[in-house]
Symmetry: none
Amino acid sequence: MPRKPNTDCRRAEIITALQAVIARQGYEKASIQAIAKEAGLAPGLIHYHFKNKQEILVLLVRKLADYGQQRFEQIAAQAGSPEARLHAYLEARLGLGEGAAPDAVAAWVMIGAEAVRQKEVRDIYQQAVAQELLLLTALLGECLIAQGSDAGKAAELAAGLLAMMAGAYQLSSSAGSVMPVGYAAHAAKTYARLYLDAVPTA
Amino acid sequence: MPRKPNTDCRRAEIITALQAVIARQGYEKASIQAIAKEAGLAPGLIHYHFKNKQEILVLLVRKLADYGQQRFEQIAAQAGSPEARLHAYLEARLGLGEGAAPDAVAAWVMIGAEAVRQKEVRDIYQQAVAQELLLLTALLGECLIAQGSDAGKAAELAAGLLAMMAGAYQLSSSAGSVMPVGYAAHAAKTYARLYLDAVPTA
Amino acid sequence: MPRKPNTDCRRAEIITALQAVIARQGYEKASIQAIAKEAGLAPGLIHYHFKNKQEILVLLVRKLADYGQQRFEQIAAQAGSPEARLHAYLEARLGLGEGAAPDAVAAWVMIGAEAVRQKEVRDIYQQAVAQELLLLTALLGECLIAQGSDAGKAAELAAGLLAMMAGAYQLSSSAGSVMPVGYAAHAAKTYARLYLDAVPTA
Amino acid sequence: MPRKPNTDCRRAEIITALQAVIARQGYEKASIQAIAKEAGLAPGLIHYHFKNKQEILVLLVRKLADYGQQRFEQIAAQAGSPEARLHAYLEARLGLGEGAAPDAVAAWVMIGAEAVRQKEVRDIYQQAVAQELLLLTALLGECLIAQGSDAGKAAELAAGLLAMMAGAYQLSSSAGSVMPVGYAAHAAKTYARLYLDAVPTA
DNA sequence: AATGAATGAGAGTTCATTCAT
DNA sequence: AATGAATGAACTCTCATTCAT
């Protein structure tokens, strides 16, 4: 009778440990030894469960993307109007309120930075960005339709909003102390509101 | 016969070599060895001309910031109104037109990403961001005053615009293929235009 | 099947290797590479077992100090009077008799010399000297009390004796061939004897 | 007409620069670059005037030994009795009074430490020690003869005193803060006085 | 599955020495 | 004589990865 494999749970533990270390100390400090220590495991075990360090990172990106998707879906389910859903989305991504998961945000920023550096991370990151872009476009499209406008402008606005979000994330980590406090959610909402208002209604 | 000093030009060469390596391979790969090879120099010589790696990076950031400043001033010189100057600025930063210097942009993005990872780089990067925020705030303040509005809103808008710019930079390197082509300059101009219009005039 | 830890013995091996290299080639030549080679280990392993080179040296100093302490205690155990204990001490430190451990003496001298050069080594060395000074002062204090004198003069004599011992050590390594053979133990005993005799009894 | 060579003076300057750097920062920090900077010369010039770094050190040792010899001769010339000469000597070597030349003492200590490490320095250092031993023996011999004793014991006492002096020097640099203030001259004088008194007169 | 020791390449940095000018 | 750039080897230390147990 073979012993029950615990690989899945160990892998999850390790991924979570990477997230924690990245959020706390940055990717540079996230050595295998550090991850192992965070997870309370022996260094050698990491490479038993993962081919290499890269693989852990890839799976972490996937996990974070899934988490963001789920969080939005939760919020969106309770929203009555398209615009309420949009606000819920922006609040979920940029707000400092409950469920803000700074750990996940910090890790996400680190990964965004890492995507600039490593092709393999970049490939994964791009998929997550593309998915996010689709989601945001759909959200904005609904808003436009609800106000009787053409949904075609949604893509353009979505790209701008996404850039603003990505920038707010990055700057929160790289230059947080020189930016105003809590500007991001407000700026994004304002941008969206003004833009939507400016689109002519049919 | 004393030998003629060539430190200044060597230092410039080394800084340029760092920029090239960063743009091509990322900061991670920008080892002293790599910089030396790129510049065609012996590794030890790098440390003859610079105290440490950090110092080269600081000067590169300064160079890039100066370059951006100059490019803006060139364009702005021909601008008649505050708004024209603002457009010139956004075009200089985000536009794909002539003088776009993809090498410099790439290096800048890499440094921004590295700022997320390393405190030392972050410290340098923050200064540049703070300076940029000041410049942009002043620019927007002029626009507001020109239209008879209170300049107080400039800071808020500047932060949002800067985030959008930083995000556009980062995404151009980390997820360029999934973003619309050339959206950034347009989105930023639209955002600014709408925002300025919405501010009540005295 | 977890692997059995061997850290303790490896650390001891490395410390011993440092002692051997120092005794044979001096501290200057005691590079991590040299230590590793002496111990028959890979260089990287040294840093697996020790945080840095400094830590090895600290532990070596401690080991040598402990060794000296033990040797003294062994000899002193058989001593009946304070003066006999003092002689035992001086013999343990300066004598050429059995258990003289030239390896340890050589290492100690090298470390003393290095203490002159490097602040980090100096800090360690100072602690050992301070401890030795205390021990010697106590020993001399007992002698003074035993002869009915005031123990207050012990500190002064201890300092002089310690200097003589340190000098004898240093000269044995740096100018051994020009000094008389085995003068040190005799000179120290004579100095102590004359000094003690000169202190007035109550 | 050949230009007048200034080699001798340049060499002296460089040796003095080494002494200054050693006294201030220790031998370890006494790189060629540091010496050159201290002397206000170009690094390359050092190797024009000296074959290598070692050679400078050797000449510095010689200079310091000569200086010590001269200083003693000056003092001795004014001393009336052998014992006065001895006191003058010990004061000249260990005292903190005028003409103490802490620069020279510090450099001398560093060199003593270096003699432990490097054979070439050791060879030079030994000669200086031997010379010193002879001088001190002669001095003590005169004292013994003056009091009608056999001068044969002088060598033994000289060795002990020299060790004490060397140790006081070394400890002043390596563990100065844990030793009593100004103990050395007093201890040496006491040692000598007691010893001389103990030698039977004819 | 798991442990933890071991490896070896590569990082930044220092520096005695050489060399073109 | 003198300059100062240039070299290259050596240093300490880090770390992804492998391996014996």
